[in-house]
Amino acid sequence: MSGLGQRGSPRRRLVSGIAFLLPNILGFAAFTLVPLVMSFGIAFTDWDTLRHNIFRHETLRFVGFENFSWLFHHPDFLHYLSNTFFLMLGLPFAIAGSLGAALLLTRVSHRPVARRGAFIFATLFLTGSGLLLRLGGMSQVGVWFIFGVLAAVSLVAGVLTGGSVYRTLFYLPNFTAGVATFVLWKKLYNPSGPINAALGPVLDGFASVVRSAPGLFSWGVPLACGVVATALTLWQLWRLRQHWDDATAGTVSVVTGLLMLAVPVGLQLHWFGLSAVTAVGGPLGVVLIGAVLILKRPRRWGPVCARDAGLSAEIALALGLVPLLTLLAVGVTWGSQLPALAAVGLPAPNWLGDYDWAKPAIMIMGLWAAIGSNNMILYLAGLSNIPPELYEAADMDGASPLQRFWHITWPQLAPVTFFIGVMGVIYGLQGGFEMARVMTKGGPAGSTTTLSYFIYIEGFETGRLGYASAAAWVLFALVFILSLLNFRFGNRSAND
């Protein structure tokens, strides 16, 4: 596989390479690179906008690493860092969501049965809504009427446009200016707002169910969650061992798989009351033991496989397994409190106002935005580029839908997933600033303050730009390392 321009001297190749690059790199250098380098320098000074500006000509002092050590001694630095990482937990869901949406959109059928079905449903919705309207009058059930009509219209439009109207509908969240979306959701999350109003009856129903069998719930839920979580963890351990024996997983994959498990286990221990240090140390120790136990086993089939064989599968599985296990851990920790909560009527959470619910609220909003987002478009483009011959071959071999997805669709989409993963990490770690500024001001009690909002406050509200730049470059280092890892392991499979 020879590239273009292999002919010609390195100098000639350089010239032509740069020639194409020139328009972009000129602008890039001027508007991106220069400020970047400046901000790097600033991070090592004590630039304080209060003292070093065009009005007070104090001299800038070079302070070396002082800003950085300050940062690590800040009492809340770890808190903000963990907030930033916590919000990233939504990334796998976002990827899954946009992939799922793209898959759904490509399956729209044009067969007459489907069209007829759609029209039937549309008529049903219209008449149903009309009836509601007659019975209830505009104000009370007006909303349902509107939704009914919308459903009917979408169904008909879906048939008429061959499914492309759904694409637009899914992508709709992206049309509002980011700030407007935040304002919108802030209003939605109002404790006496539409979301809680809709949740109210559901929670009431659930509360009465729980109240009718409090004992069952107080030990049943944690028990069930615990059992499932333990089963899943054991299954993953067994699976890793199997793959090692079968030489389908290399050292790196096994270690990665084990490390991923350590996250929910550590969280669970922490929620049980262990200090953060023990909660982290414990699982890590377990990981080490597990690694040793597994890796020391002789391979069943002799030949050794590449060190990072099977890594992409491992990561994919972890992306799904870790959030699931985390949710189960939540169930174990707080499931026993269900009856107590139900006794007071299981109030809808205070969302943005509640210390524990603020971050999940933001993640839910993020998920909503992510389903029909740019990532979905990328997946649509990627899906359409998969040669149908692959699917036809699989069909002839009698593959199930799951196998079709796992062995054809997912690997073919690897370059797109890789891109989305890298961008997700980059923007995810840097994000949260606009959201915090508009919706929560970093509260309650700092639970939604990410590193980027912290940078904003330090840089713009107190004027200590040197300090803020240092924090930004620490963030940069984090992103850089994660992207590097992503690159090394993801790029490989993307270019396979």
Binding site: D46, D48, T49, L50, R51, N53, I54, F55, R56, P75, V183, K186, K187, Y189, N190, P191, S192, G193, G200, N350, W351, L352, G353, D354, Y355, V438, T440, K441, G443, P444, A445, G446, I457, F460, E461, T462, G463
Partner: protein
């Protein structure tokens, strides 16, 4: 594809040319100054009044344009520090502290004396808001205190007696519990609160405690009196549900600027009282006619209210300094003050205009009669501006105090821990700043020496010279208790 690309470029060029040529011309004969403030009818009326006043004073005409993006302090800061700030700026909250410290606000002390908008022209208690280290950096465009607005209808609805003008914290608690019990029968989904917040700084001041000591060199929030107040606040929020927790409150305030729905909750009866300034009338008037009353906040001990004014200042690099400074002079004119009195945007900065019949008893709003007089009286007698320190940025104080109080209310910290943390963090901040700024360090050392003398005199029961005290609250407190040396009459 290439064709559509070329077409779009052509279209864009056309549109850009159109847009560019239709921007209102910058070149006019008369100077244009920009005022960063709210763009609404009140401000536009202010601009008109300014033009009128300029004409009446036979001054050369100036065009005053409003730049509305004043909600964003970042923008003002970034533009100001880079030399392209707007000529006239409204300063809000912590900006009144931060912006002059950067040097980008014009020092107008001399102009003020010459043109008549020195501190003597407005409420004396307001001076610390726009005077820093003896230099003047602006002039208030309104003044006011915050009091408890009472919705008489809400009290009547639940058959709960209204509070008296002056009341203690215990009376507040008792009445509050009574109200909340009456208004929230079992099974209520949407809780009704007694009030939206209690002013912690004023409660502390009642007990004799301010944010800082007399010379503003040390944060005194770790004092046991603060623990008392914090504990009360926690109890009122979490146990008695008299006030929404900060979390609940912020969730209720469902818009960016945060004030809007406090008023709708007040009018709809979810708050029996709200603690806010007189400018609330601007929002309340369009929403209907409510029977209103104003009472002091419930404070034990030294009665005080929170005095503040919106300051207007001039940008140091303005291209039209003379004209911009004239605007500050305009703020003392009858044109401006009568306008403020009429639209009830707080109290007019010049006190005598708060004594007119039109202000005290506006003909169109009999439901408000009595409240204006209370506000004017409190501004004259009990108003004290916020305690500030040159060693700590107000924004930091505000943020630390708020976050730690929230943490305490949510149960993650005890009141004692929160108070101690406040003191520790803010005192560490002071040390940080004086470590980095030699000029500040000099000031700090000077003041610490004075503080030692103050402490010695207090311990010996001897009076203290007023000039030694920097903090406005301590000054008023000492004066009220007779601990000051007899002041030589000028």
């Amino acid at each position: 594809m290439k064709r559509s690309f070329l077409i779009s470029v052509a279209l864009l060029s056309l549109a850009s040319a159109l847009l560019y040529w239709t921007v209102p011309g910058k070149r006019t004969d008369i100077p244009v100054i920009y005022w960063v403030t709210q763009d609404d009818e009140n401000k536009r009326a202010t601009v008109a009044a300014f033009q009128q006043w300029m004409a009446d004073e036979h001054l050369p005409p100036v065009e005053l344009r409003i730049d509305n993006t004043n909600q964003e302090p970042t923008k003002k800061l970034v533009q100001g520090l880079s030399g392209v700030g707007s000529d006239i700026m409204d300063l809000y909250g912590y900006e009144a502290d931060l912006f002059p410290a950067t040097g980008m606000i014009q020092d107008v002390t001399e102009d003020a004396k010459r043109l008549g908008f020195s501190p003597a022209a407005t409420y004396p208690a307001l001076a610390p808001d726009f005077i820093i280290n003896g230099r003047q950096f602006g002039f208030p465009r309104n003044a006011g205190v915050s009091l408890n607005w009472i919705n008489r209808g809400t009290f009547a609805k639940y058959h709960v007696p209204e509070p008296p003008m002056r009341w203690t914290m215990d009376e507040f608690e008792a009445l509050g519990k009574k109200f909340v019990a009456a208004a929230n029968p079992p099974g209520t989904r949407e809780r009704i609160y007694f009030t939206n917040l209690v002013p912690r700084e004023q409660l502390r001041r009642g007990l004799g405690l301010a944010n800082y000591n007399e010379t503003s060199t040390r944060c005194t929030l770790d004092d046991p009196r603060n623990v008392q107040i914090l504990e009360r606040v926690r109890r009122w929020t979490v146990e008695d549900h008299l006030i929404p927790s900060r979390e609940e409150g912020e969730a209720m305030a469902a818009d960016i600027s945060g004030d809007g729905s406090m008023f709708s909750h007040f009018t709809s009866g979810r708050f029996a009282m709200i603690y806010v300034g007189q400018w609330a009338l601007i929002i309340l008037r369009p929403r209907g006619t409510f029977q209103l009353r104003a009472v002091e906040p419930a404070i034990d001990g030294f009665v005080n209210t929170d005095m503040g004014g919106g300051a207007v200042s001039v940008y140091a690099r303005s291209k039209h300094l003379e004209e911009s400074v004239r605007f500050l002079q305009f703020l003392t004119s009858p044109h401006f003050n009568n306008l403020i009195a009429r639209i009830a945007d707080g109290l007019p900065p010049v006190p005598k205009y708060a004594e007119t019949e039109e202000f005290l008893r506006p003909a169109a709003h009999p439901n408000e009669w009595g409240t204006a007089a209370v506000f004017a009286e409190e501004a004259r007698t009990t108003g004290i501006t916020m305690s500030k320190s040159p060693f700590v940025l107000q924004s930091i104080l505000y943020r630390v105090e708020k976050e730690l109080t929230e943490t305490m209310v949510s149960g993650r910290m005890t009141a004692a821990e929160a108070a101690k943390a406040m003191g520790d963090r803010l005192n560490a901040e002071i040390q940080l700043r004086i470590d980095h700024d030699p000029a500040l360090r000099k000031l700090y050392d000077q003041r610490v020496a004075i503080q030692r003398q103050i402490d010695a005199r207090r311990a010996a029961g001897k009076p203290v010279p007023a000039a030694w005290i920097n903090d406005p609250f301590h000054l008023a407190y000492y004066r009220a208790h007779g601990w000051l040396e007899k002041e030589a009459t000028p």
